[in-house]
């Protein structure tokens, strides 16, 4: 049995180059200094441990750098001969280096965490309560992140015989799944699945299979509230994923190090199994990527599904063969036989073809999905452009607007009458639009907007779909809109059951130009809310056509500081009468204010080839000119129904209004009403 002293001697020996020590201690010294200086300025949004993206990235980088520093001898023939000729076991050299790298990291990290913790405790009372727990959790979590990358790099070095191949394999292990999911699977999904919005399983895989994303998620970098960060405990699911990223590479390199032959140093791959696996992964994914790329570039999927399948399969097969041969040439097999692994080559081709065709075959199943009644728990619906201003509509129409849809899907989640109405509407929509047809998504003339639906299934699963919505279908959405459940989501104040809850809240009237605090007693507030609820109850989607809000009441919670909007339309008879009785002028607009000037940006779009668009800016400060405009302009704040009550969005105006009560100039951003 190996003595502890003997092993310790080799741990000391592992530190001969001091590279690990230098890299580790300097990194943490710099990180600690910078964090302490940031903590001295702000303790609310500065986190030295959990919640720190910088620390997460430092740990990832150190994992890779330290692994290369410690196990670099496995890539050096001369050094390896030197070590292995000595009276020492190969495993002793390997594991002493493993522990040496880990020890330097853990010690330096722990010291920095303790110093930062002590410092923050002296200046931050709230932190003091959580100091010990937060510091210990931080040390454990970031050690796990370090080990994840340490093991990834270690396994890459052990299975490779050259530096460049070890670096490449490390890169492959870190980025492969990210590229595979986002670059390959998503390309197929977007091309084939007409109703695709997102697939939660793929979103989760995109985190758990991507070490960088997983380390961010695991270390709480997606949290922003201090309380949550200080009391953070990692999610079990992500914890299990981190454990697998630690354990699987560990087991592989522990096994590979035992079977690795000394003479393999200098070859591209030192372990034949690794060579085959990497060859398979690269050939398979390159073949799929080529098919996906062809789809994106040529849009052949819009013409014929069969033709598309044949072309994707053919391109995939050709690419698999090409990449396989290239790989064989790169790994320099001594026999120089490019087709030496025929069964593997066939497996690569078959996998690539099946992969491409699977997407194609699954597309109708995906697009025609509609949950059975007993499996559906709730349903979330977001119709793009409904209860939405123009700028939000444009943003949501583009790819980067997913967060808007996600927010709205949470807001507009129905479980009773709203759900039933929404289900009927979606089924009508599916029948009329034939969602299995590719043409739907890519621009049928009839397409008006789109609706995103989230089916919340019994058991917690979520299924998302996006449907194209025609003008007729949009109007038919009134069946959903007019339900009390929908209105309670769109007009949250109407859902308040106990109006006494609002007693201490502040009520402020705004006509889009100026604000006025409403002096209402508790009973008056209750009356106002009751009347508003009655108006909302009577509201129909059809009533909104061509209507703009007269103003809004902002209810600010004295406890949470949150603001709730009550949009007031002129046809809200009871609410308007009540407000009129309490001194609010409902029908005021810019013309009721002393407008000093109006700057109008007229955006001209290119209408024909050879012409270019542009913006004409005009400033009006003459009374006659201002009078022409102030009746046309509507504060952008009241652009709340871009599809039902659209404005002229080619005109952006800025009105300078002299606010007499405060004797100040205020600037109001406006759009023009349609002529």
């Amino acid at each position: 049995m190996m003595s502890v002293k003997y092993f310790n001697n080799w741990i000391k020996e592992a530190g001969r180059g001091h590279i690990t020590a230098i890299v580790s201690w300097i990194s943490f010294a710099v990180y600690g200094s910078l964090t302490i200086s940031r903590l001295s300025l702000d303790t609310e949004y500065t986190y030295f441990g959990i919640g720190s993206m910088e620390l997460s990235r430092i740990c990832a980088c150190l994992g890779i750098v330290i692994a290369f520093s410690e196990f670099f001898y496995l890539l050096q023939q001369k050094k390896q001969d030197f070590y292995y000729s000595l009276p020492v076991k190969k495993s002793t050299i390997f594991w002493s280096r493993y522990f040496h790298g880990m020890l330097h990291f853990v010690i330096s990290l722990s010291i920095v965490m303790i110093i930062c913790s002590i410092y923050q405790s002296t200046i931050d009372e709230e932190f003091r309560l959580h100091a010990v727990g937060y510091s210990i959790k931080s040390i454990l979590i970031f050690t796990a992140i370090f080990l994840m990358f340490y093991h990834i790099a270690a396994v890459s070095i052990v299975v490779c015989g050259k530096l460049y191949s070890a670096v490449l394999v490390t890169g492959i292990l870190i980025f492969y799944f990210q590229l595979f999911i986002n670059g390959i699977c998503q390309a197929f999904i977007k091309s084939y699945f007409a109703t695709y919005y997102k697939i939660p399983v793929i979103e989760k895989l995109n985190i758990v299979l991507v070490p960088l994303s997983l380390s961010g998620k695991f270390s709480g970098t997606d949290l922003f509230e201090k309380e949550k960060i200080l009391t953070y405990l990692p999610n079990t699911f992500y914890g299990a994923a981190v454990f697998l990223w630690l354990a699987v590479p560990f087991l592989i390199f522990a096994w590979a190090n035992r079977t690795r032959k000394t003479e393999a140093t200098g070859k591209v791959f030192a372990v034949p199994g690794a060579e085959r696996s990497i060859e398979f992964l690269i050939s398979f994914s390159a073949a799929l990527w080529a098919g996906g790329f062809l789809l994106e570039v040529t849009h052949i999927n819009e013409k014929s599904r069969l033709l598309c399948g044949i072309i994707v399969a053919a391109v995939g097969a050709i690419t698999a063969v090409g990449v396989h041969c290239l790989f064989e040439w790169i790994v320099e097999n001594t026999k120089r036989k490019i087709f030496r692994r025929k069964p593997q080559l066939i497996a690569e081709i078959v996998s690539a073809v099946i992969g491409g065709v699977l997407f194609l075959g699954y597309a109708p199943v995906y697009d025609n999905f509609f949950p059975a009644k007993e499996t559906l728990k709730t349903i979330g619906v977001s119709v793009n452009g409904l209860d939405m201003g123009h700028s939000e509509f444009i943003q949501n129409t583009n790819e980067d607007g997913k967060f808007i849809t996600d927010r709205r899907l949470k807001q507009y989640t129905f479980s009773s009458e709203g759900m039933e109405a929404a289900k009927d509407w979606i089924q009508d929509l599916k029948k009329s639009e034939d969602v299995g047809n590719y043409i739907v998504k890519t621009g049928s003339q009839d397409s008006y907007t789109f609706a995103t639906v989230c089916y919340h299934m019994e058991g917690g699963k979520e299924r998302y779909r996006t449907y194209s919505v025609s003008r007729r279908a949009f109007d038919a959405f009134s069946n959903v809109y007019n339900t009390a459940e929908y209105k309670s989501r769109a007009y949250p104040v109407s859902a308040i059951e106990d109006v006494n809850d609002l007693n201490n809240n502040g009520f402020t009237w705004s006509d889009g130009i100026s604000q006025k605090a409403l002096k209402l007693s508790d009973s008056e507030k209750a009356t106002l809310i009751t009347k508003y609820k009655e108006d909302i109850e009577d509201l129909r989607m059809e009533d909104l056509k061509g209507q703009l809000p007269s103003g809004e009441i902002e209810i600010e919670s004295q406890i949470s500081g949150r603001t709730t909007r009550m949009i007031i339309y002129p046809f809200f008879g009871q609410t308007c009468t009540f407000l009129g009785q309490h001194g609010v002028k409902i029908d005021t607009g810019l013309s009721n204010y002393a407008v000093e000037s109006i700057m109008v940006h007229n955006v001209l779009h290119s209408t024909a080839p050879g012409t270019s668009g542009g913006t004409i800016v005009q400033i009006y400060d003459e009374k006659e000119d201002i009078e022409k405009w102030d009746n046309r302009l509507v504060p952008q704040k009241f652009d709340v129904q871009t599809l039902i009550s659209p404005l002229d969005y080619s005109i952006d105006a800025e009105a300078e209004v002299n606010e007499e009560t405060t004797n100040s100039i205020i600037k109001i951003d406006c759009h023009a009403k349609l002529n």
């Binding site: 001969r16 001369k78 001969d81 000729s85 000595l86 032959k261 000394t262």
Partner: protein, 298 residues
């Protein structure tokens, strides 16, 4: 004693060492001779425990597992280009080796370094090739291991340094029962120092053992003739090699010495005497008929 039995090593489809069997007695200097790629280094690396054999056995002092730590403590492997830590001096390397070979004599390192004019504190990277070889040889000898495995240690060195190193080895062998296995691709490097030589060719062994012992019926005769008739001599005796240099004719002849001398006497020489064969000549004669291109290792 080192006993190598049917040792085999393949690098993919290349057979580097092919069923080699050698026995190295204790206290001798054993030479491994062969051209580049003959399998000498592979054989030594297997012996040193760096490479794992694909077949065959290595017994060190009858110990089956020659990679066992107690067994490896008896070995010092000296490659053709020894590895040293960056900026390390002889002193630092000696301290490192001391941790691996507890019997290493630091004082001997100091003494030998002084004798060879090597600065013990100077970084090894600043040393010339010959100085590095000397430094590592003295470290190897000071480690007091029973076996020393050297790979091409004399290659590319000038004759003076080569002689110094050989003397160091000789001296150490004289003082204790050190067994040295040395590989070279030049016969001249080994002929004056090795007791036994094995010749490796394409992974296989052509011959091994005490070569001089095998050449007992081969004799080298130096003669001076007034009128030499070589055809007569060749018909009369089994002349293997004949060389004329001025008055002198040197003959290598197979057969009993008495028969040879009588035969030469019939040719009426002015002068004749037997001179000892060099290892090179012995080697050439032993190798005759094997088809091996001897000029490659001369």
């Amino acid at each position: 004693m080192i006993k190598i039995n049917e040792l085999t090593k393949n690098f993919e489809d290349i057979c580097a060492v092919n069923h080699v069997s050698i026995t190295v007695p204790d206290g001798v200097m054993f030479g491994l001779l062969g051209t580049n790629g003959a399998g000498k280094s592979t054989l030594l690396r297997m012996l040193a425990g760096i490479l794992e054999p694909d077949g065959g056995d290595i017994y060190i002092d009858n110990e089956e597992d020659h990679t066992h730590l107690t067994c490896k403590e008896n070995f010092f492997y000296l490659p053709d280009s020894p590895y040293y830590f960056s900026n390390a001096s002889i002193e630092e390397m000696a301290r490192f080796y001391r941790n691996q070979y507890p019997q290493l004599d630091i004082e001997a390192v100091h003494y030998m370094s002084g004798a060879l004019n090597l600065d013990i504190l100077c970084p090894l990277r600043t040393f010339s090739k010959g100085m590095k070889r000397q430094a590592f040889l003295l470290l190897a000898l000071s480690s007091n291991t029973k076996y020393l495995i050297c790979d091409e240690v004399f290659d590319g060195l000038d004759p003076i340094i080569t002689e110094v190193m050989k003397n160091l080895i000789r001296q150490e062998m004289k003082e204790r029962e050190l067994t040295v296995i040395v590989a070279s691709h030049r016969l001249r490097d080994l002929q004056d120092i090795c007791h036994n030589i094995a010749i490796l060719h394409r992974g296989g062994i052509l011959t091994a053992g005490e070569l001089k012992g095998r050449a007992t019926d081969i004799h080298k005769i130096q003669c001076v003739f007034e009128h030499v008739n070589l055809d007569y001599l060749k018909n009369l005796l089994d002349v293997m090699h004949c060389q004329r240099d001025g008055y002198f004719t040197t003959l290598i002849i197979r057969g009993g010495i008495e028969v040879i001398m009588k035969g030469i006497a019939l040719a009426d020489p002015v002068f004749s005497r037997e001179v000892p064969l060099t290892l090179e000549e012995t080697f050439m004669t032993v190798m005759e008929g094997t088809g091996y291109d001897v000029s490659k290792i001369l």
